[in-house]
Amino acid sequence: MRRGYSFYAQLGLTVLLCLFIVVPIVMSALAGVTVNIFKGVSSGLTLRWIFEVWDLYAQSILLSLWLAVACLVVTTLAGVPLAYVLVRRPNRLTRMFEEILTLPVAIPGLALALALLITYGGFGSFRSSWVFILIGHVLFTLPFMVRSVAAVMSAMDMKTLEEGAASLGAGFWHRFLHVIVPNAMPGILAGALMVVTLSIGEFNLTWMLHTPLTKTLPVGLADSYASMRLEIGSAYTLIFFVLIMPLLIAMQMLARPGKKRHTASQLAEDE
């Protein structure tokens, strides 16, 4: 097939848009390892800024990782059973609850944080602990976990699976843990990646909820952009990219079309 000027015009626009996205990422990554950005890359490359960032902000980076793990645990424990109920018992009440559940995503993080601060800001030790930030992150990420798991659950033939297991004498919790959860694993995995990525990058809520002792990675980033030299801000951004890229790539691989989820139907047929 011969390709006309229109193909190349559209390709040109696509590449231009790509450059718009990628150039600043490359620039900041480069600036993070450049000796002096005002003189340019010709001044030499160094890891000095990376180490400096680690000295200054190791606490905030580690806190973010810890928060992401804690957030993942909470959203999995609360979200998977929720998804099960929403899929298995679709009635007016559960649908209304699902609507409420997704509200924290529809509302700007700033407003959500304000509500949390007004309600619980007075409880000193709670306010200044990392749990306070965790709550914000859980509110914001729980819908993503529930959606992702529910999508897989509603695609699998849960009724047949459960009946099969029940006819073999499995009680509810046994069925839930050994039949439902393993079959919903692709959804749990996709949700988990989403939750961790969002938690590590969350800023709008966290900026309002943090205290000087509970700074997260993005809070530290904002801090370094405002008060540190350009190289340090860039090096810190580079660390963020290195943390987040594998998660993003894993998500893209998982979401790739054509990778059908056969597990549920196969298991149903086996029985």
């Binding site: 559209q10 390709l11 626009l13 696509t14 848009l17 718009f20 996205i21 990628v22 600043p24 990422i25 900041s28 600036a31 609360a78 059973p81 929720l82 899929v87 679709p90 559960t94 609850f97 699902e98 409420i100 997704t102 509200l103 529809a106 509302i107 700007p108 993080g109 700033l110 407003a111 304000l114 509500a115 949390l116 007004i118 309600t119 709550i135 729980l142 993503f144 959606r147 992702s148 529910a150 999508a151 509603s154 695609a155 459960e162 009946e163 990058g201 800023f203 709008n204 900026w207 309002m208 993005p218 980033l221 904002a222 952009y225 405002a226 951004t237 993003l248 998500m251 979401a255 079309p257």
Partner: protein
């Protein structure tokens, strides 16, 4: 990414066969209740109660219940609201046009490097707003690429990261991945044979676009536009990092709350902002259907 299956994740009856046949495998109502308890407790304690208290808190303001209307009665807040609305709408339109063309192109053409281009375009999906702001500084700041190029060409450094153009660029930056994914999802559902039929009947290219492609893409464009608009309305980190003198609504809320300790007004403005974004997303979901899934909003 939770995005590639629009409409799949919602529990609607159509997904399920009728239950009646055998209830034996159904858990008891008590079990269902136990399963929901952790989630319901979290939402109730940390979302519903705080929401209620914020709604009450507004009445502590100087004008009592009328504080709710402060966004319309106070000139400064109204101006900020209008600025934010115009800005978000503008970004949405530009993002839709760019991503509409590019998304359609990426779906309809197979060529080497295509999946890399898609991967790169959706990269910033979960960048926090602050990082997006920093990307704008890298692009159009004092040491930015654009300034460097213009300096080399004309001897004059073009810097616009810190004014309204910079903010616009930033909003566009975090909108592109969201919109492009949504456009591609709905473009994949279009039937290329319709276009071929139109073309074989002698329709010129622009008519194929206007009468066949655009109507088919429309639901996807509307829902991704709504998500884009709502995200832009609530975006805080980008404006915060760029520290522009343009007061977008989230920045005003932040300033009222932290610098002026004007909690009642901050609460009133937050409720107004939340109501706008929520209504915008719900309206689209109501009229267009499931595809306007808020969970594609992600970071920002």
């Amino acid at each position: 990414m939770g995005l590639q299956h629009p409409g799949e994740g919602r529990s609607r009856p159509s997904f399920f066969q009728s239950f009646g046949a055998s209830r034996s495998a159904m858990a008891s109502p008590a079990t269902f209740l136990a399963l929901m308890t952790p989630g319901v407790a979290i939402i109730a304690a940390f979302f519903l109660i705080p929401l209620f208290l914020v709604a009450i808190k507004v009445t502590d303001g100087p004008d009592g219940w009328a504080t709710y209307l402060v966004i319309l009665t106070n000139g400064r807040y109204l101006e900020s609201l209008i600025q934010t609305l115009v800005m978000s709408a503008g970004v949405t339109v530009v993002a839709l046009i760019l991503c509409g063309v590019v998304g359609m192109f990426l779906v309809r053409n197979q060529f080497a490097g295509r999946s890399i281009l898609i991967g790169l375009l959706t990269l910033p999906l979960s960048f926090p707003g602050t990082v997006v702001g920093f990307m704008v500084i890298m692009l159009a700041g004092r040491q930015g690429v654009i300034g460097g190029i213009s300096n080399a060409l004309t001897g004059e450094k073009i810097v616009f990261a810190y004014d309204i153009a910079g903010l616009f660029i930033g909003y566009l930056y975090f909108s592109i991945p969201r919109v492009i994914l949504a456009v591609m999802a709905s473009a994949e559902k279009l039937d290329p044979q319709l276009e071929e039929a139109a073309r074989s009947l002698g329709a010129p290219r622009w008519r194929v676009v206007r009468d066949v492609i655009l109507p088919g893409l429309m639901p996807g464009l509307i829902s991704s536009g709504a998500i884009c608009f709502a995200t832009a309305m609530g975006a805080f980190g980008t404006a915060f990092t760029l520290a522009t003198d343009i007061d977008v609504l989230p920045m005003v809320i932040y300033t009222e709350f932290t610098r002026n300790a004007n909690i009642a007004v901050a609460a009133a403005l937050s409720i107004a902002l939340g109501a706008i974004t929520w209504m915008c997303l719900s309206a689209v979901r109501f009229f267009v259907g499931e595809s306007a899934d808020v969970t594609t909003r992600g970071g920002a």
